[in-house]
Amino acid sequence: MNIAIRRLVTGLAFSLVLGAGLMMPMAQAEAAGRAKVTLKDGSVVEGEIVREAEGIIWLKVKSGKTDETRMIAPTEVSKVERDVTDAETVAKPLDKPAEAAASATPAPAVAPAPTPGAGDEPKARKPGSGAPRAAVLTLGEGDGKDMVGVYVMAKPLHDAIPLLKAEGVDIVVFRVNSGGGALLEIQKLSDVIYNEYRKNFRTVAWVDWAISAAAMTSHAMEEIYMTPEGAYGACTGWSGELVAVKDMDLEKILFQMEKISTRGNHDPKIMRAMQIMEPLSATVSPQGEVTFYQDTTSGDILLNPKDRVLTFNSQTAAKVKFSAGTAATLDELAKAMQLPEVEWVGVKKPGYIWPICKAEQMQMDFREKTARDEQQFQEYVQILNAALQMGSSGSEETKAKLAGKAREMMNKIMAAINNNPNMALFQFNIMPEKFREEWVEPTEKKIKELTKKEKK
């Protein structure tokens, strides 16, 4: 009779994200034909196109006696020449990675890196001095309110955009403070950041603690700043008793992050070293160009030894230009962002070093409500369980009273899950879309059984 509360979250969460990964709106083309790709460093790679997505080209190239598939990010590409006889529709050589991206990925989700301020709707007229207006939005706030998929979710971020526009915001700073969470939310968060925020605002991450799913979320942003004590990485997928995601599931999440790396214009080798035990080194040229190597010896700077998983601190991130700067305060951040003038939108509140804009207040309210629901959820489940347990014996009148109590609790649980569907996953280990079938219906049945016995 007992309905156990289970928190075996990540296993199912991972399954769910993989499901979401398969249904991602990101366009992928199973391309064919040969191509000659000229890279920015002048070298030319020639081979058979295996696949294309979001401007990334996978080329099968000769490597000694065998073939290997090489993935080329748009940021590496200077020019693509295609075999016109194989595919007339993609015959035109593309000179810019952005064009390649647009061509290969017609869906909205794969538009070339959006231009800040190029939103669809006109923004509200800016009040004040005419200096750019910036707002801080938090992705997690620590102290138990930081889990991706519960407290960091795509929907409240999406809902905040009209408020940002109404306040005439030009720049959105995502202050990241999360130790990670469910992989299922990453694609949704990446989509809202890439397709909605970057389209409408100059969008930057200001990272204090971006671990695992939080780093994977932030990876859709190109402009990243760190706090001095900031950390970014450790993105290994796992579940249960520290069991790693493996095999096909692993390949899928690696591929997903290759594509998200492209969105953020980050070398995919970085994220790979954060996900699995791949070494990483880098060289910064005198011109400031950074080249990453998936080994310990090719680069001058060793970022990740073999048999380790990478997490950047603020120094290493800055050294290889993964972060654009380090800032402890808003003033330092503005300086790092090269904003001689900036108007921070919102009202000052005790306990915060940035003003709270309306969109941020919305995030805070969402987290507060979720926290309250989460806390009360336990009580609802406990009372429900107790009522069902006690109702297994006793008089008909007793059973009827207990059935009433159980139903009251069930309704409260359903309301909480309606507000935040991922709670089904985190509280019951049930995928949100199966919650009705796997929890509500059996529970209803148990409650009805109590009253049925009463009629006998």
Partner: protein
């Protein structure tokens, strides 16, 4: 100003009269003259953190003490750390015992000396960490400040375990993830205050070899064994220490900072065994004033309150058990009364557990045999249901 005035009064009549006039003028323009000629003493506030880390040493009283320091216009806050490092009251822990994950407990305390200063203080105070014993979680706290002083017998460490603490659990890649994120956080604390993050790697990661040499009066660190006569090994590069080393307190698989080592590698700015000595080394002995703040009372009140709460909870648990023994009352009224009493006891336990949640960690629950709060909440709900279905 007072001392100057007193000198004048010792002069002859005429001079004394002039002196009085000057003194009166000084009274009129007192503030201005005082600033120009005789700056106000530097106000020093002292907070002593001693006892068990996470229990006696916890964020609530520390935050209260820092607020008191702010309200007293402190210019300098000295935080003296002397935390217990023992298995129990009879068994001290060796240097190479490890409790890395107290990092996450320290993380709740460290912002009080960092972000919260930026946020809450009109003028940033100078925070000086003065360490006697900071083993385990407390080891991270001094690094929040660029000014650390050691006592001559000080020890900072007890945070080894990275790379081994999860041995035998799960998959290697997940263990590495866990180590990686922990190290990055710990490194960040050092980076913030300008220390080399290699130091914390040597303190946390058995087998990590750290060497230094002095260049231009400053230490330069290398992640390898010494290669020159002027280079010194800070760790052995071994994964474990011998029993001999453990017994003699000379373990080197991970770095434990003492006064000399910390001074040599620039972590400690100096060694001071008394408060006067420290104030002298801070360059404040000539014109400073130690504020008679409430920090001691705040810390003592916290310790008293949590000890009282512990005692009260244990007593309530006992009463609850006795109440259950007599749960089968004969009349509806008796049963209702008994349930009311039990509910009040449960409410009291739950309230105290919530109030002191930060100090009542898993260890406290284990030692005092107090079940988790959820069990009490469930019991309370069960009583509610029993009352619901009971009949006269």
């Amino acid at each position: 100003m007072l001392s100057r005035f007193m000198t004048w009064t010792g002069l002859s009549g005429a001079v004394r009269a002039i002196g009085l006039c000057v003194a009166l003028l000084a009274g009129v323009f007192g503030t201005r003259l005082a600033r120009a000629d005789d700056p106000a003493p530097t106000r020093i506030y002292v907070i002593e953190l001693n006892g068990e880390f996470g229990y006696d040493i916890s964020q609530t009283p520390i935050r209260q003490a820092m607020r008191d320091a702010r309200d007293n216009n402190a210019d300098v806050v000295i935080v003296k750390i002397d935390a217990k490092w023992e298995r129990d009251e009879y068994q001290p822990l060796p240097d190479n015992a490890a409790n890395f994950d107290e990092l996450f407990r320290a993380q709740k305390i460290m912002p009080i000396f960092a972000e919260e200063l930026q946020r809450d203080w009109p003028k940033q105070p100078r925070v000086v960490m003065w360490v006697k014993r900071a083993m385990g979680g407390p080891a991270f706290i001094p690094f929040v400040s660029p000014e650390i002083y050691f006592t001559s017998d000080a020890k900072v460490g007890g945070v080894g375990g990275i790379g081994v603490m999860l041995e035998g659990k799960g998959d290697e890649v997940v263990r590495q993830k866990q180590y990686s994120l922990r190290m990055a956080r710990a490194e960040g604390f050092l980076i913030r205050s300008g220390y080399d993050p290699k130091i914390i790697n040597a303190m946390c990661r058995p087998g990590y070899q750290l060497t230094y040499r002095m260049e231009g009066g400053r230490p330069v660190f290398f992640s390898r064994a010494p290669e020159r006569p002027d280079e010194f090994a800070l760790t052995s590069g071994e994964m474990k220490d011998s029993m001999e080393e453990v017994v003699r307190g000379t373990t080197k698989s991970v770095l434990t900072l003492n006064a000399d080592t910390a001074r040599a590698i620039g972590v400690s700015k100096g060694t001071a065994d008394t408060q006067d000595d420290l104030i002298f080394q801070l360059g404040l002995s000539k014109n400073s004033q130690v504020i008679d703040g409430k920090s001691k009372r705040i810390m003592e009140a916290w310790k008293r309150d949590i000890n009282n709460a512990t005692r009260d909870i244990k007593k309530a648990l006992q009463d609850l058990g006795q109440g259950q023994e007599g749960a089968g009352g004969n009349s509806y009224e008796a049963r209702t009364q008994m349930r009311g009493k039990q509910t009040r006891l449960l409410d009291d336990i739950i309230a105290k557990l919530k109030r002191f949640e930060e100090a009542f960690g898993p260890r406290w629950h284990g030692v005092n045999q107090v079940p988790p709060i959820q069990q009490f909440e469930l019991r309370r709900e069960e009583i509610g249901l029993q009352q619901l279905v009971d009949k006269k």
